[in-house]
């Protein structure tokens, strides 16, 4: 009798080819799905998305303040196009605001003072790392600090902060531990921002670095 069907070898090879094709067909699709999900953030924790939305809403408010401010300046300029005294007044006002911002004048206001002490005694002394300090300062800025000084040295846009042996370098200046950080700004929000569970103060505490936070009605930060 003449065999018209495929041999078992041929059938097996065909099944194998089909499976391989199926796998090869699925894998790129799978990679695409993973990539798209990463881009759309739809698989993220809703808490993270809510945090992003809150930040974007805050950004919206901040941009609105600046938009309104510049818009008012334009309107005032148009109104006072032939009034030199009014223009001088407007320019001087903005210059005063910018001098405060750039660290050219001493500032005062409510805020918080954080005193940080390392534990230098014992078998394994604790030491404040660059990352700890950057995280602490970042959390202060994020929670409403307007001006910050470290042991009286005011931070500016160009200030770097890092450990140099046992010292702390703030911009071009050198200071030592303990470190007293003064921050003028939204007192309640800054205190809350630092003390969130798992936040920077918990981190310092775990590493046996003491941090005492005090609310102060009037802080003064020199230029």
């Amino acid at each position: 009798m003449k065999r018209t069907g495929r041999s078992p070898w041929q059938s097996t090879a065909l099944i194998f080819a089909l499976i391989s094709f199926f796998v090869g067909f699925l894998l790129p699709g799978q990679a695409r799905v993973v990539r798209e999900m990463k881009q759309t953030y739809q698989n993220e924790d809703p808490k993270d998305l809510i945090r992003v939305i809150k930040d974007l809403q805050q950004r919206k408010q901040d941009l609105l303040v600046e938009e309104t401010d510049v818009s008012q300046k334009v309107t005032q300029y148009l109104r006072s196009s032939d009034d030199t005294a009014a223009q001088v007044g407007q320019l001087q006002h903005e210059a005063t605001v910018l001098r405060q911002r750039t660290g050219a004048v001493p500032l005062a206001g409510p805020g918080i003072r954080i005193t940080i002490r390392e534990q230098s005694s014992g078998v394994s002394p604790s030491m404040l790392a660059d990352d700890d300090l950057l995280l602490l300062l970042n959390d202060l800025w994020a929670s409403g600090a307007e001006v910050i000084s470290l042991n009286g040295i005011r931070l500016t846009d160009s200030s770097s902060v890092y450990r140099a042996g046992l010292n702390v370098r703030v911009g071009g200046k050198v200071t030592q531990m303990p470190l007293v950080i003064s921050a003028i700004g939204d007192t309640e929000n800054m205190a809350k921002g630092l003390q969130i569970p798992g936040g920077v103060l918990d981190l310092l505490n775990l590493r046996r670095i003491g941090a005492i936070v005090q609310k102060v009605n009037l802080l003064r930060i020199s230029d």
């Binding site: 070898w9 930040d55 030199t84 001088v88 903005e94 405060q100 800025w141 994020a142 939204d186």
Partner: protein
């Protein structure tokens, strides 16, 4: 005949092992996706829509600020031509705005690019080494300042002294704006000085080690000209006032 049957048996066993292997790989590959793709929290779709809507509004407000600042600059330069006092003040104000980061800055500098690994971590890998963290950006910005950078930006955001760089899960925010990788950190300054100092710094060397081992992107370029955008934040303080 017996040999052929034995060969067939061996082949089938090999085929079984291969197919089972494929099946296992597929299951491993699908597991995280199935969990996340098909159990996507329902509210996430809505949250992502809200997020994108806010970003659109913020982009539009940012453009509006740039346009208004342009108009103001035109008005100021016209007025400066009519009065010496206004001209001197306008010039001083221009310098102060530059110092406060409220003006775009262009000049020689460097660009550091960081991005998450394109390689998917295996089950035995620690996925933390495959992604760029907010702390990396803070450290790079701090290094750039340390070695003389005069203006810095991360992607399209100007980074000032008070610019927070934070994360919400895997999402990095600079100036409360969501950043997408690659994170391009641009700094104005002496390219040679910045390049030599940063490339020899321990932190940057650690990132290069992660690049070699975990395939994150970590690159460094000296540039004859880079542009850093102006900050869009309002300069006025709400709490701090001039001390008497």
């Amino acid at each position: 005949m017996i040999t052929r049957a034995r060969n067939g048996g061996v082949f089938l066993v090999a085929l079984f092992v291969m197919v089972a292997g494929f099946g296992y790989l597929l299951a491993v590959q699908f597991k995280p996706t199935v969990n996340k793709a098909y159990v996507v929290p329902v509210q996430n779709v809505e949250l992502v829509e809200i997020m994108k809507g806010l970003e659109k509004e913020n982009d539009s407000a940012a453009q509006q600020i740039v346009d208004l600042r342009g108009q103001l600059a035109d008005l100021e330069s016209k007025s400066a031509a009519t009065s010496d006092e206004v001209r001197v003040l306008t010039q001083q104000l221009g310098e102060l705005r530059g110092k406060a980061g409220l003006a775009e800055a262009t000049g020689p500098g460097v660009v550091v690019t960081l991005s998450d690994s394109s390689r998917t971590p295996t089950l035995s890998d620690d996925p933390n080494y495959f992604v760029i963290h907010d702390g990396y950006l803070r450290s790079i910005v701090n290094l750039m300042r340390r070695y003389g950078a005069t203006a810095i930006a991360v992607n399209d955001q100007r980074v000032l002294g008070n610019s927070p760089i934070v994360c919400a899960g895997p999402i990095i925010l600079v100036n409360s704006s969501r950043m997408s990788p690659p994170y391009v950190i641009t700094a104005l300054g002496d390219p040679e000085m910045l390049a030599d100092s940063i490339s020899q710094d321990v932190f940057f060397r650690v990132l290069e080690m992660y690049r070699d081992q975990f395939e994150i992107t970590c690159s460094f370029e000296k540039k004859t000209s880079v542009t850093v955008p102006a900050s869009l934040d309002n300069a006025a303080f709400k709490y701090a006032v001039s001390a008497k």
